[in-house]
């Protein structure tokens, strides 16, 4: 999978020099992140319905290497400020990801819900996890990506734009990360 992404990244960078429509320019993004806003790629987030201000901040952080992920750092490198705005506005228009068909194991769902209440995730991410402004939509995000991201915030290997998530994760246990990812991915 890594090879495919790298190849696509090169294709993207090589082609971005010419004049292209936005649709053409985002095609390489959607190859990994999913055509319909829903990612089918391991550890790669669904982008559909994402808050535009959050998406813009992430693209900016990738470009400036304030958020480290080689492929995305390379992809974002040539983006101008106008590109950042255009891409993030486009991402927000993609359809929201759908929950998986299975409703989930009731016991795990219940544990996840309890963890959400305990740590008040719904305060900033909203009760339906749709997010607002710089706070991302997390509803029906990929479970593997949610778990990975929460773990990275916890050990501070992913620096947030501000320090909110680093602070929040201080008291969340490994087990709770698994429950939270399971629950939020299947939230209906």
């Amino acid at each position: 999978m890594g090879k495919t992404i790298t190849a696509l990244a090169f294709a993207f960078m090589a082609s971005s020099a010419g004049a292209e429509t936005l649709q053409e320019r985002v095609a390489p993004c959607l190859a990994c992140h999913g055509e319909g806003g829903q990612s089918e790629t391991e550890n790669t987030p669904s982008l559909g319905g994402q808050q535009a201000p959050y998406a813009l901040i992430q693209l900016f952080m990738f470009r400036e290497k304030l958020r480290s992920f080689e492929i995305m750092n390379d992809m974002a490198k040539p983006l101008s400020e106008d590109d950042l705005r255009a891409f993030s506005d486009f991402i927000a228009t993609l359809p929201k990801p759908a929950p998986p068909a299975d409703a989930g194991d009731p016991a795990r769902m219940q544990r996840g819900q309890a963890a959400v209440q305990q740590h008040r995730c719904d305060n900033c991410h909203n009760p339906d996890f749709s997010g607002k402004e710089n706070v991302p939509r997390i509803a029906n995000q990929r479970e593997d990506y949610l778990a990975k991201t929460l773990a990275e915030y916890k050990d501070n290997s992913r620096h947030g734009y501000d320090g909110t998530m680093a602070d929040v994760m201080g008291q969340i246990t490994k087990e709770q990360i698994a429950d939270l990812a399971y629950y939020i991915a299947r939230f209906r």
Binding site: P53, L56, I57, F60, M61, E64, K65, L66, E81, L84, R85, A114, Q117, Q118, H119, R120, N123, C124, K132, E133, N134, V135, H159, Y161, D162, G163, T164, A166, D167, V168, M169, G170, Q171
Partner: protein, 434 residues
């Protein structure tokens, strides 16, 4: 049920404070009021058993539950991209008659603290985007350069004798002869990193005093927390980072200070806690009259309110009261004495204070620059608006962070919402023309 919860809590507090006093004495420090307690991560749950205590840094600590108006409030995060020059709100900003305001430089995302170099370069820190900028001014033509990038929350900048000092979240660095190397600056050299790494109130304003020492604050690691001996204070040190000492305690989060040119006393702004109420506590303007003074937080707020949680057994008379209150949740940040000669006489040695503006209040306050006039004895005579208009219909069109009187008598104001720096002059507008 309620008393069952309260009893162990107050016992725990008493134990914590006793421990702090004993520790302070053992360390043989100069007389310090008790500011310390075990790390705030350890208090027992105070609220409903369903919800664990929020982490110490969370801005949501103390937020009332089940209140719709409160649920709408959250910190306001500025965009990572600077506004284009034609979108800046200069036309909506109001200054007193005879004054002019113009854009000095734009295109500096998240522009925060300001410092002026010997050769007229203006250095600009940032909190969220990792950059320090340099604005050069050649015959009225101003150019913005990104001097350093990839730094970690480089909010603070200070300048002395050719050297730029940069304060990141948990370290202070210097770049010597910086104005001679703006196009190819060396990497900053770390001079001091004995600092906590908390994100909450971890970004720093720094300045160099008339005693030629570098002043570095360490905020409290959260909205309203008991904390260890390394937080909630202002330190000073030699310019090579040696000889650090704590000169003030009970400081929640100061993001601006300067020295009275007549008395040489340090004045600093301090941001009050959130979620207690819409109208109190107010932010503070404080004055240090002796080393080691304690300014109250988190026990006494705004000089006359004992904290509902941590104030039990305390009295505000134990702490130094502010010289002025700056408005509830107003986020009073950068402040400097105006010592120039361009402005009218009434401005001489008065303080300009940038109020970034509130988030923790339904009807926002701040989003302006205030003029604070002092009496001969250093107490506050009056407070009045100087620049207004950043707050428009309860939302921000800009947010002032720092003020910087320049050698030519004009005053610069940074705006981290738009990534711009404005310049205020007095007299015929042609003086302000580029």
């Amino acid at each position: 049920m309620k008393s069952d919860l309260l009893a162990p809590r107050s016992l725990w507090l008493a134990g914590a404070l006793f421990g702090a006093l004993t520790l302070g004495a053992a360390a043989q420090q100069p007389p310090n009021p008790p500011a310390a307690a075990p790390p705030a991560a350890s208090p027992p749950p105070a609220s409903a058993p369903a919800a664990a205590p929020l982490p110490p840094g969370s801005p949501l600590i103390g937020r009332p539950t089940g209140n719709e108006a409160a649920a709408k409030l959250a910190p306001v995060t500025p965009p990572p991209i600077a506004a284009s020059p034609d979108k800046l709100p200069t036309a909506k900003l109001k200054v007193p008659p005879g004054f002019n305001i113009e854009v000095y430089a734009a295109g500096m995302a998240n522009a925060r603290s300001l410092a002026e170099g010997d050769k007229g370069t203006v250095f600009v820190g940032s909190r969220l985007v990792g950059n320090v900028y340099a604005i050069t001014n050649k015959d009225g033509k101003r150019t913005v350069k990104t001097l350093a990038s990839g730094l970690y929350r480089p909010n603070g900048v200070a300048f002395k004798n050719g050297t730029l000092y940069i304060a990141e979240l948990s370290k202070v660095s210097r770049i010597d002869n910086v104005e001679d190397n703006l196009d190819n600056p060396p990497k900053p050299t770390v001079i001091y990193d004995n600092l906590p790494k908390d994100e909450a109130h971890g970004w720093k304003f720094i300045a160099i005093g008339p005693d030629n020492k570098l002043y570095v604050p360490v905020g409290q690691p959260g909205n309203n927390v008991l904390h260890d001996d390394d937080h909630g204070q202002i330190r000073r040190m030699n310019l090579d980072g040696s000889g650090a000492e704590v000169i003030a305690r009970g400081v929640r989060n100061t993001v601006g200070f300067d020295w009275n040119p007549e008395t040489r006393q340090l004045y600093f702004t301090d941001n009050g806690r959130d979620w207690m109420s819409e109208d109190v506590p107010e932010d503070e303007l404080n004055r240090i009259t002796k080393v080691g003074e304690h300014f109250g937080a988190p026990y006494c707020l705004q000089g006359n309110i004992v904290d509902p949680e941590f104030g039990w057994g305390k009295s505000c008379s134990e702490f130094t009261a502010p010289v002025a209150l700056m408005g509830p949740h107003s986020a009073s940040l950068g402040m400097r004495f105006y010592t120039g000669n361009l402005f009218p006489k009434a401005y001489k040695n008065a303080i300009l204070v940038a109020r970034h503006g509130s988030w923790n209040r339904s009807k926002k306050v701040g989003g302006d620059v205030l003029l604070v006039k002092l009496n001969k004895d250093g107490t506050v005579k009056s407070t009045e608006p100087f620049i207004t208009g950043f707050l428009d219909n309860n939302s921000y069109i800009g947010r002032p962070v720092d003020v910087l009187p320049m050698k030519d008598g004009s005053v610069l104001v940074s705006d981290d919402w738009n990534g711009a720096v404005y310049r205020v002059t007095y007299g015929k507008p042609k003086m302000a023309a580029q």
